[in-house]
């Protein structure tokens, strides 16, 4: 399946400089981590690998990830000030330059640990160029999930096994956006599903899915 699906992956995004991989892509990884965590974290540790570890300072990757954690878009002019805003929001944010190869096999890798005292997750994202990202890893409740990577992707956590809602969701996603692949993982109190879809969800479709399937996560 193609990594790049939309002409706006190539002509775009409109963004604050200087690097689409290291700035706009980092904003997208920060945003994905925020969406997957589903609430405001208290502590965030960002582990950089390879090119990210070597050049994050020159490329503004730190403030870009901070901006993403606050839900900013890549063209938000507040992005260079995002680390201060994160600190003001009471989030402890730390960056670590890791030695050695990326655990998710890409030179532009950030592995982000998020926690708030009760909940703790890890999200591994890589920036594949032009501001486009892949989410290749999620760890929660002791379960390590190696996701396919390319977006758009829908995540849904079910708290019971053989939940009929899952097959409904499966059918709806296939109809609306072409289901490419489905993976599931056992988590402490249920199962987590990854739906890789071919097309983007129209805003109204997403709204109706969010209404019906509580806690659904859409990454694009």
């Amino acid at each position: 399946m193609a990594n790049y699906r939309s002409v706006f992956d190539i002509i775009g995004p409109v963004m604050v400089g200087p690097s689409s991989s290291h700035t706009a892509g980092a904003v997208a990884i920060g945003n994905a981590a925020r969406l997957i965590f589903q609430k405001t974290p208290k502590k965030v540790i960002v582990h950089y690998y390879e090119s990210f570890a070597k050049t994050h300072r020159g490329h503004g990757t730190d403030f870009a990830i901070a901006g993403g954690l606050l839900g900013m878009a890549p063209d938000d002019e507040r992005i260079p000030k995002a680390p201060e805003m994160v600190a003001k929001a009471g989030i402890k944010l730390r960056f670590v330059e890791e030695e050695g190869p990326s655990p998710i096999n890409h030179p532009n890798t950030a592995i982000i640990d998020l926690s708030d005292g009760e909940k703790q997750i890890t999200v591994g994202g890589c920036s594949i160029g032009g501001g486009t990202i892949e989410i290749r890893l999620i760890e929660l409740q002791g379960c390590k999930m190696n996701l396919t990577g390319p977006l758009p992707m829908v995540l849904y956590q079910s708290n019971e096994k053989n939940n009929p809602l899952v097959s409904q969701l499966n059918e709806l996603l296939d109809q609306e956006a072409g289901l490419q692949k489905l993976q599931k993982w056992p988590v402490a109190n249920g199962e987590l599903y990854e739906f890789d879809i071919e097309k983007y969800l129209a805003p109204e479709t997403l709204a109706s899915l969010q209404e019906k399937f509580k806690g659904i996560i859409y990454l694009k």
Partner: protein, 293 residues
């Protein structure tokens, strides 16, 4: 979605539709958005590019916080007014707009990544010169971007567009190829001539390394975009003149991918090799980030 340049050319020949139209129709299917919404989005991208060009070439221009880049698009503008340029005014107009954009990017200004921020000046460079040379209106420039983006998607999916994986040939090289192909369509060339221009443009920049000084998107990025825009115009002219690429477009893209994969990491956006590794490059890095960086 189109999987190859050949598929784009064949479909355009078979349907008689412009390539830009094929890409718009494809985007409607993929995005769930209407034609009007998609058009508006591309128009906004075009206007963002034009604003960045204007910002970089007006007054004293912009300077980056490190002082490494900035103010040179303005120098080019003045030179064009006061001198007989060696490569001609259309060419230097492209160069000026390309550099203006990347100077704004280096100053953390707002730009449109095409396909990346590091290569964001190349297409605006081509656009600025075509607009004047061919008297293109806004609709034609928006169509230019759809065509460029359509070819860019094929390159991105088969070779990649990140300096960290493929070197600068994947960034400025891709942008230049997209610009060359779209310029041919804007000038009234055939779909096959678009493919020839794309092939020629890629061939000319094959092997270009990504070696940013201090890891910053400044040197040599700004001037590489000048060359990316110029290469796009030369390649488009060659194709329009009837020159052909011996190697077909999709194989040129394959070569781009293979060359990128065989490049050592020091030359893939790590700020270690190439110009970044020179004594001056290293000294600048130490000055900006300290000796232990």
């Amino acid at each position: 979605m189109f999987d190859s340049v050949k598929e784009i050319v064949d479909t355009a020949n078979k349907t008689g539709k412009a390539i830009s139209e094929l890409i718009i129709e494809d985007e409607i299917k993929t995005s769930g958005l209407s034609r009007a919404e998609i058009w508006k989005k591309m128009q906004f991208n075009l206007q963002t590019m034009q604003k960045a060009v204007k910002r970089g070439e007006s007054g004293k221009g912009v300077m980056s916080s490190t002082g490494l880049t900035g103010g040179e698009a303005v120098k080019v503008a003045k030179y064009r007014q006061t001198h007989k340029t060696l490569s001609g005014d259309t060419m230097m107009g492209a160069v000026q707009a390309a550099m203006a954009t990347n100077e704004v990017n280096a100053a953390l200004g707002i730009i449109c990544a095409t396909p990346t921020a590091g290569s964001s000046g190349t297409l605006p460079g081509v656009i600025a010169s075509l607009e004047k040379r061919l008297n293109l209106d806004e609709d034609a420039l928006v169509r230019f971007l759809f065509t460029a983006g359509g070819f860019g998607l094929v390159i991105a999916n088969h070779a990649g567009i990140a300096g960290a994986t493929g070197g600068c040939q994947a960034e400025v090289g891709s942008a230049s190829a997209m610009g060359a192909a779209a310029a041919v369509e804007a000038a009234g060339g055939t779909p096959q001539q678009c493919a020839e221009a794309l092939s020629i443009a890629i061939s000319n920049l094959l092997g270009l390394v990504c070696d940013p000084i201090a890891g910053l998107v400044e040197v040599p990025c700004v001037k590489r975009n000048a060359i990316g825009a110029a290469n796009a115009l030369v390649s488009a002219d060659l194709a329009l003149a009837g020159c052909v690429s011996v190697i077909p477009a999709d194989e040129c893209i394959m070569a781009l991918d293979k060359v990128g994969k065989s490049m050592p990491a020091a030359l893939r956006e790590t700020g270690i090799g190439g110009l970044a590794g020179t004594p001056t490059g290293q000294a600048i890095k130490a000055k900006i980030f300290g000796k232990d960086a």
